[in-house]
Amino acid sequence: MSRQAPAPIAARAAAVKSALIDKGLLTAETFGHMVHLGADEWKPENGARVVARAWTDPAFRERLLHDATAACAELGYEGPQGEYIVALEDTADRHNVIVCTQCSCTAWPVLGLPTDWYKSPEYRARVVREPRPVLRELGLELPQEVAIRVWETSAETRYMVIPMRPAGSEGWSEEQLAGLVTREALIGTAMALPA
C-alpha cells in the first residue's frame, strides 16, 4: 500500500467505471442491469419462499433436500453463486450455521448479497471457533444439547439453512410462513420468527 493517502474510494470506483465506459468495454445498460440484479433480484425473500414451500409441501421438501439447486430453480431462483446449492435442515437436536471464512461466498439467488456483519472479519474469524458466543452476541442462545454444525463455504457449494417451522404456525399460508423466515434464519444466526 502506498505511503500517500489513497484517493477517496468513491473517486477510485468512478475512475474504473468511466475508464471502462470510455474504452467501450462497458455500457451504462450492462452496468445498470448488474446493479439491478444485486439490489433487487437476489434477496432473502426468495430463500424464505423456498423454506415456506418446504414447510407446506412434503414432496418439495424431499426434492429440496435431495437437489436444492433444482428445487430453487422450480421457483425461479437460479444464477451466479447458485450453481450448486445444498439445503441444510435444522432439527430439534442439530442447528446449522453458514460462514465463508476466506471471502464472503453466499448463495446470491436465494440469500441475496451478503450483509456487512456476515462479511466482517469478526464473524469470519470467530464463528468457526466459538459459534456459541458468536450466536449469543447475535441474539441466539442454543442449549448445550443442540449440536451446532458450522458450514464453511470454502469451495463451490452454496448453502441455505431450512430453519425449524415455528410452533403455532399450523394452517398458515405459504406467504404468511415466508414472512417468518429472515436472512439471518437462512444463514443460521437466528431461528425463524415466532408465529
Binding site: Q4, M34, Y84, T101, Q102, E122, R129, V134, I148
Partner: protein
C-alpha cells in the same frame, strides 16, 4: 502458511455487530464495485473467479483488514485489469485525482505440488485427513483444518480446481467433499463436545486416514 484472507479461527477480533434493516449497498461506490465485478467477464473474456479471489487475497494485509468488502472487491478487479493491460494505472490515478492502491504481485511460485485427482477417491462416511501443504498462491483449504482428520458427509460434483485455475496452470476438475471436523479435533480442549465444522474440500487436498 496462511494469507491474511484466511481468517478462520484467528484470535483477537471483537464482537460481531449487526445493523438492523441493513441496505444492500450503503453508498453508491459499493454498487459500482459490485457491478464492475459482475461485468468483468464481459470486459475481459479471460476473467475467472479464482484469479479474482486471489487478487483480493494479494492485498497488503493492513489494507485488506482495514477496508470495506466492496473496497477489497474494487481493488481486486482493478488489479487484474491493470495487470492484464486492459486499464492503465496512471490514467486511473489521474481520473481519481490521487493514489489508487492495488494488490501486490503474485508470488514467484504460487502453486503447491498437489497431484491431480480426476476420479473421486473417497466416499461418504470415510475418514480423511487434510494434507499439511504450504502454498504462497491461491488455495481453498483453510489453514485451520490442515493436518486435521474428519469424516466425509457428502461427495459434491466436480468443480474447477482453484489453485491451478487462479495461476494459469493446467485446468482440471475434481470432486469436492463436505468433510466434518469435530470442534475437539480443530480446537482441542477449547472445542465444544457437541459442535463441528464442515469444510468443502477438493480431492487433492485430502489423503485417506485410517479410522
Amino acid at each position: 502458511m496462511r494469507g491474511i484472507h484466511d481468517l478462520g479461527g484467528m484470535y483477537g477480533f471483537g464482537p460481531v455487530v449487526r445493523e438492523s434493516d441493513e441496505p444492500v449497498f450503503h453508498e453508491e461506490w459499493q454498487e459500482t464495485a459490485f457491478a464492475l465485478l459482475m461485468a468483468a467477464g464481459t470486459v475481459q473474456p479471460g476473467f475467472n473467479a479464482d484469479q479474482y479471489r486471489h487478487s483480493v487475497e494479494r492485498m497488503a494485509p493492513g489494507h485488506y483488514l482495514s477496508v470495506h468488502y466492496y473496497e477489497r472487491m474494487l481493488t481486486g478487479i482493478t488489479t487484474l485489469l491493470v495487470e492484464q493491460g486492459v486499464l492503465d494505472l496512471a490514467d486511473l490515478e489521474a481520473r481519481a485525482g490521487g493514489v489508487f492502491p492495488l494488490a501486490l504481485p503474485v508470488a514467484a511460485a504460487p502453486m503447491a505440488a498437489l497431484t491431480p485427482q480426476p476420479e473421486a477417491r473417497f466416499r461418504v462416511g470415510q475418514q480423511v485427513r487434510v494434507r499439511q501443504y504450504s502454498c504462497m498462491g491461491h488455495t481453498r483449504a483453510p489453514e485451520f483444518c490442515r493436518g486435521k482428520s474428519g469424516t466425509v458427509l457428502r461427495v459434491a460434483p466436480k468443480f474447477s480446481f482453484p489453485d491451478t485455475s487462479a495461476h494459469g496452470g493446467e485446468l482440471r476438475e475434481e470432486h469436492t467433499y463436505h468433510v466434518e471436523f469435530t470442534a475437539r479435533e480443530l480446537w482441542g480442549a477449547e472445542g465444544n463436545d457437541s459442535d463441528s465444522v464442515v469444510v468443502d474440500l477438493w480431492d487433492s487436498y485430502l489423503e485417506g486416514d485410517a479410522p
